[in-house]
């Protein structure tokens, strides 16, 4: 049987002999399609949101796995899912477009020629989005499969690419949806429904695609198990503690720093301000935001040494790098909350939240950040301790 032979141009559906429902899209292909839709949707909704980076990373990695699987399936899988079945050369695509414009395009049982190219484009762009995402996770955050292989600068470059392509994907999806609608109208069939149940009208005697149920179930179960394992931390963390999906390098600590600086507030890790800021703060200990600290000289020495060794300039962590980069070279901020990076990260929090009893002030990092004490401030390690809507 030659599935590539379309109905003859001009042959009206009404003239055809009786049709029958034929299984075209096998279960694995259909599951793949909708899981990829879900993965991209969740990835899109969780974009640029530090709190949900673990969710974003999971669905991005899921998308990557799905695409790699689809490539394998496209090379050796179900009949209509094979690339050889729906990828056509430019001439055929051109003719198909011409046919569409004239109103007499042939109908293809599997993907039509443009649809075939759209599939490749969607897969290719999505693939680069996923890989660049892993590069961002590695370079910018220091996590994931590629960590250790990407520098922070490379991570930022990958982030720019990742963002541009994500918007490109949105555009492609829009084109894809439009194409599905057009094709459905032109050939009077419901292609969305077909991708759900897999059946399409065909000439009697058209052999259906094999069901490949086993592969489909294996795919689904693998995805569900992966999700359960990945997110199990949330269920296994004891009550009262916050689950930290990302745990970075342990930053240096100093008992004098922790006890002296932690006397009245969170013992802000020195990596949160540049060395010149700490030097200024320690030089003016007699007026530390209205208090005279009256620390003894040898205590001050220990503090100064620790601060100088691990200040933001040393770029020992993501917050250190980004806080340092955001401060203008001539400025010497004395408050972490005055740095441009801090402001940018927290400006979405309504002002009234800072006054709530559970939070208290902008300087109370530990109210929301589970790893404030260590100075790591990893993504997905923060939660507003209150439901703001209840405190209107």
């Amino acid at each position: 049987m030659n599935a590539r032979s379309p109905m003859k141009s001009g042959q009206c559906l009404a003239d055809r002999p009786a049709v029958e429902d034929v299984k075209v899209w096998d279960l694995p292909t259909r599951l793949f399609h909708w899981m990829l839709v879900a993965a991209f949707l969740v990835g899109w909704l969780s974009r640029a949101n530090d709190q949900y980076l673990d969710v974003h990373a999971f669905f991005g990695t899921l998308a990557l796995a799905l695409i790699l699987w689809r490539i394998v399936w496209g090379l050796g899988g179900g009949h209509y899912a094979r690339f050889s079945e729906f990828v056509y050369g430019w001439r055929v695509v051109r003719d198909y477009i011409g046919g569409l414009l004239r109103g007499g395009a042939p109908r293809y049982l599997g993907h039509n020629p443009i649809g075939g190219w759209a599939v490749l484009a969607l897969l290719a762009v999505a693939l680069v989005i996923c890989v660049s995402g892993l590069a961002v996770l590695a370079g910018d955050e220091g996590h994931g499969i590629l960590s250790g292989l990407m520098s922070p600068a490379a991570g930022l470059a990958a982030k720019a690419l990742h963002r541009v392509l994500a918007w490109g994907m949105v555009a492609l999806v829009a084109v894809h949806v439009a194409g599905v609608v057009v094709e459905s109208r032109v050939h009077r069939e419901n292609l969305v429904a077909a991708m759900i149940h897999g059946r399409k009208h065909a000439r009697p005697g058209t052999p259906p695609s094999a069901a490949h149920r086993g592969v489909g179930y294996a795919l689904l179960i693998t995805v569900l198990v992966a999700a359960a394992v990945y997110f199990s931390g949330y269920l296994l963390t004891p009550a009262g503690q916050r689950y930290r999906p990302f745990i970075g390098v342990t930053l240096a600590s100093n008992p004098t720093w922790s006890s002296e600086c932690g006397d009245c507030h969170v013992a802000y890790h020195p990596s949160l301000l540049p060395a010149r800021s700490w030097a200024k703060l320690l030089a003016h200990q007699d007026d530390h935001f209205g208090e005279d600290l009256a620390l003894e000289p040898d205590t001050l020495k220990v503090l100064a040494k620790f601060a100088a060794a691990h200040s933001a300039d040393a770029h020992e962590s993501e917050p250190a790098r980004k806080i340092d980069a955001s401060i203008r070279p001539g400025d010497t901020p004395l408050r972490i909350t005055a740095t441009p990076y801090w402001r940018a990260k927290h400006d979405h929090i309504p002002k009234r939240a800072w006054k709530l009893a559970e939070i208290g002030s902008k300087g109370n990092c530990a109210a929301c950040h589970a790893d404030a004490k260590g100075g790591g401030f990893e993504d997905s390690g923060m939660r507003l301790p209150v439901d703001l809507d209840e405190h209107k």
């Binding site: 932690g262 969170v266 209205g290 208090e291 009256a294 002030s361 109370n364």
Partner: protein, 135 residues
């Protein structure tokens, strides 16, 4: 039996010893204040100093020790600005209070300056310590 008995004796001794050390730090401080010309010390005066309002030039204009340490010294306090929890002042609940002279000196200096606007006199320090150690 003999072993248990000797263990109990040792522990008892240590406990008594510890409270002796505790008492020593406070007594050392009071002796130093007396030497500086202060005394006799009055817990009621200490309590008054601890709870009354002191006026300052910068905000907050009205300052009181209990703003952070709360009026119930057995309870956990809270830094009024940062929200940091402060362990109870009362030695009956927090036995580590007033065991280190250095610490007491540091805090009294810092907090007298902030709350009252100046260093506390030896008399005031003695009154405060007499009041606080009994909580």
């Amino acid at each position: 039996m003999k072993k248990t008995l000797s263990c109990v004796v040792v522990l008892l001794g240590l406990g008594l010893g510890a409270s002796a050390v505790r008492a020593a730090a406070v007594d050392d401080l009071l002796a130093a204040y007396t030497k500086a010309g202060a005394g006799p010390f009055d817990a009621a005066a200490g309590k008054k100093l601890f709870t009354e309002v002191h006026k300052a030039k910068r905000k907050p204009i009205e300052r009181r020790c209990v703003m952070c340490h709360t009026t119930n010294l057995r309870a956990t306090g809270k830094h009024f600005r940062t929200g940091k929890r402060i362990k109870p002042m009362a030695p009956s609940v927090n036995p580590r209070r007033f065991t280190k002279v250095r610490k007491f000196k540091k805090w009294l200096r810092r907090n007298c300056k902030w709350t009252i606007g100046r260093l506390c006199t030896a008399q005031e320090k003695g009154d405060l310590l007499t009041f606080l150690r009994a909580q």
